[in-house]
Symmetry: C2
Subunit: 110 residues, 2 copies
Amino acid sequence: MKTRRDIFQAIADPTRRAIITLIALQAMTPNAIAEHFDSSRQAVSKHLRILSECELISQKQEGREIYYQLEVNKMKEVDQWISQFRQIWENKFNQLDEVLATLKAQKNEQ
Amino acid sequence: MKTRRDIFQAIADPTRRAIITLIALQAMTPNAIAEHFDSSRQAVSKHLRILSECELISQKQEGREIYYQLEVNKMKEVDQWISQFRQIWENKFNQLDEVLATLKAQKNEQ
DNA sequence: TGTAAGAGCAACCATTTGATTTCATACTAT
DNA sequence: ATAGTATGAAATCAAATGGTTGCTCTTACA
């Protein structure tokens, strides 16, 4: 069992992304979460385990209920990976600005 | 074959993420890309196909060679999904600021 | 013109994944 | 104590995934 299980693999599944969004603002129990989906409670429970394993969510017991909440800071790891490309696409805009400036200058010289 | 194949699934694989980073600044041929990995050329080729299918990369033929380049704008879709959480973690800081401001005010009143 | 190189595609295989079913555990309330 | 609720865990299964092998097609070049 290689169990790669990193954040990118965790957010690859659409149901897990929906769960993440769902509990982003407010901790919820597995039952409450499952009610929002077609999946069974057990299926949701497995998703929660995967999200827990890569520390994207944490839990706090409350009697016999368990509230799951998003560890939003963990999401920064994805943001960090994306940021390298953000630099590129912002650069592209800069280059486009240069092109436009050049064209404008040429036009003025005519 | 359900072939879910969205961006999140595409970047879930570490080899594909490496390919994306590799060609981010400079278009490359499959052979050149494969040299950077342990995987075979065919394995890389399959990854390239997946990345192409969700339009994360594009290709331009050059003789018998095909250069693959990153469609960096497509990456914005991931950035967009992340941004909702960015708002949350920035909000957390704001709340902390409020707490600090309150504490400071209370201290001044003493 | 024939041979080699660059690349895609289909078939196949082992592993992983996501879901369901069934069971076990822990807490609550009567 | 006992029944019911909330949840986790193991077994099982179909489908998806990532990789390899072998084949074909096109282009370059001697």
